[in-house]
Symmetry: C2
Subunit: 413 residues, 2 copies
């Protein structure tokens, strides 16, 4: 039996932990069931695009020691590489579907695991449906990952916890940095989240450690007004010498104040950047105080040097559960994480939904957890986020720097 | 006997470790010498400015446990607050000197320790000279700190090692992040260093862990040409899909291409920002490939969540040595770190120079460690930097986030 695993979309800290979960489950299963054909696991380079180009790596050739597996688990970004590729609607043009199908058949692949966000679930849904129509039992299973936490059907997404932990730690350090002088100042932190404010909202975590900051939190889920923003900042400056604002890159500016380039990616998503700089300039003009904007940039999705242990454990568990689903003959579904609402302790179990229902849908931050003024979140948010950042995964260090897992280029087919 | 300690200039990860070094040495000395008056240590809020305002905190009231001392040691930024304040030339106007002197006398302060960069050493030099002229034996001792590593007379500065470690770790993660797609791309990391390229140059550390990146390194010590920059990037793109550039915020653009605001701080230093964005735009225009700029911003001076153990140890040792100098009756000097060139193992001892010689002087990155093209550094640089980032100081964690030391506001006099 043969599995293939591909990774797609933007990097996270936990996407390789899901890959390891799939690999470990397959290996353990091979070792257990003696009368069964062993399961081999192929890594696919650069997602569905690499699949079409037949760019594989035999993971058992590479993951030859527990150390190698552990290193891969802790390495940020997508070790197999990624892609941003959208399958056309099959009814209009299914030539690529046929191409992928032939590659899967040629390499005797029984199950394709696709680790990604909601765009990747679109691929899982479309491809699994088309393959089933051909009467084939090749299975396609989606494993969620995104720092945006915006997939529906799951309590949260692997990758989010580590990103939230990094953002909270960094914001806390920025709070220390920004409070050393006696002059009044405003600091604006721009945080990722195209359509959903989860990661920006998670900065409320600082309050669990007794920080008042961030004093203002702005999410895409609430209309943004620059007039109100300046008013909010001025009001906070009355009681705080150093005002810290967490602002989502995706906040919705009034039409009249739009300043964006209009460029967009393959999925039609607008490239966002510069909201922090824009607001910095606005504060300088309207208030005239010391002001600085900070963009947490790609670091918030790839900083694995102090990842959330809970996040990596759950990411691995999601990978393992995906293998269970495949062995049950399931296809076209996405693994989900379900929080046990009845348990006093934080407990999560894996379940699944149809990938089609997660595809192209954004789960936004609950409106009921945003305050009336639209400039902060409620205590429910702190309680929701807190379990997701618990525990630390320390990197393997060499020469005072983390060691990262890398595939040797000569191991690609 | 009474010590006062003040912190000045920009935050670092190690400035509180020097404060702890002074505090511990004073406490140990008090406990040892039974016939001696014990030494009390006052913290001064916001540097020399807070001294004039008599804003003190009795450290023995606050640092009541080993845990508190350890927490302060690991907390980033300046726990006592900072200032940017330049003493006028005494010959022209010594009224502020008199004011400071009277405060020192009023509070029976025998030694003032000033932890800071080369601007702070200007204060140490001027103030110690003026006080000596009054026939007073109040001593002023400078303890170096700066992430810029640009103080003369010392092998390196406390605070630099942790900043270099953070920059290297982050760059390594950015390398992982930027290499996931198949499309050619350029990533430009803008790194702090107004007049000296030490921190930018330290990105060469990645090569000790087998990374080729950064492929291009630009420092203020070598003239920068945008024509050459585009040419360099194009050449690197021939052999690398993802080209990573480390660029100092202080690189010297040709006069004709200047785009800066011209604003400057109290010391006449130009506020720098935006070189990364500027070069990003240039690459987009001239090469037209995928390009991103990343500003490591204040995180590089305050990210203490995985600090260099070597750096914090040396920062504490520098504080302890400053107390030795004071007990010997020295004044107007700055602690230095001397690397034992003859030792096969990295070894550092403390020494001192006149603060006047360190004031207002910048120690630049050696021209002999820059390659001929001015776009990279040599292996000597890797060897120089490597010992400074060794060892990790893990933060004390609570709720999945580091705990920071903070002075309660009611403990200020």
């Amino acid at each position: 039996m043969r599995f293939a695993v591909a990774q797609s979309g933007g990097p996270t800290c936990a996407i390789n932990a899901s890959l390891v979960g799939i690999y470990k489950a397959a290996t353990e299963m091979s070792n257990k069931v003696h009368n069964h054909t062993p399961i081999s696991v192929l890594g696919v380079h650069n997602g569905i695009q690499g699949l079409m180009d037949e760019r594989f790596v035999d993971l058992s050739q590479v993951l030859t020691s527990e150390e190698a597996v552990d290193l891969l688990r802790k390495t940020p970004s997508t070790a197999l590489g990624s892609c941003r590729f959208r399958l056309p609607v099959a009814e209009q043009d299914d030539s690529l579907y046929g191409k992928i199908f032939r590659v899967l058949q040629k390499h005797a692949i029984d199950v394709l695991f696709y680790i990604g966000g909601n765009d990747s679930m679109d691929t899982v849904a479309k491809l699994s449906a088309w393959i089933a129509q051909q009467g084939s039992d090749i299975r396609i299973i989606g494993v969620p990952k995104t720092i945006d936490n915006d997939l529906i059907g799951t309590d949260h997404t692997p990758g989010f916890g580590s990103a939230a932990k990094y953002v909270a730690m960094t914001m806390q350090e920025v709070v220390r940095d920004s409070s050393v002088y006696r002059v009044p100042s405003v600091t604006i932190c721009e945080i990722m989240g195209r359509d959903a404010g989860w990661l920006t909202a998670s900065t409320c975590l600082l309050r669990a450690n007794g920080e008042e900051a961030p004093h203002l939190i702005y999410l895409p889920e609430h209309e943004f007004s620059t007039v109100q923003f300046i008013h909010d900042v001025q009001r906070k400056m009355e009681s705080h010498r150093s005002v810290i604002c967490a602002v989502s890159e995706g906040i919705v500016m009034p039409q009249s104040e739009s300043y964006r380039s209009g460029a967009s990616d393959a999925f039609g998503h607008a490239y966002l950047s510069g909201i922090g700089k824009h607001l910095e300039q606005l504060v300088r003009q309207e208030i005239g105080c010391k002001v600085r904007s900070i963009e947490l940039n790609v670091m918030q999705r790839c900083a694995a040097h102090l990842a959330s242990a809970t996040d990596l454990d759950e990411a691995e568990a999601a990978g393992r559960y995906a293998v269970e689903l495949a062995m049950e003959g399931k296809s076209g579904c996405m693994v989900t994480l379900q929080r046990d609402a009845g348990s006093p302790q934080y407990r999560v179990t894996c379940s699944h939904i149809a990938a089609a229902s997660a595809a192209n849908v954004t789960r936004t931050f609950p409106a009921t957890w945003i305050n009336e003024e639209g400039n902060d979140v409620t205590d429910e948010a702190v309680e929701y986020f807190l379990p997701l950042i618990q525990g630390e995964v320390l990197p393997t260090m060499r020469n005072g720097m983390p060691v990262h897992f890398r595939f040797a280029s000569n191991l690609c087919w």
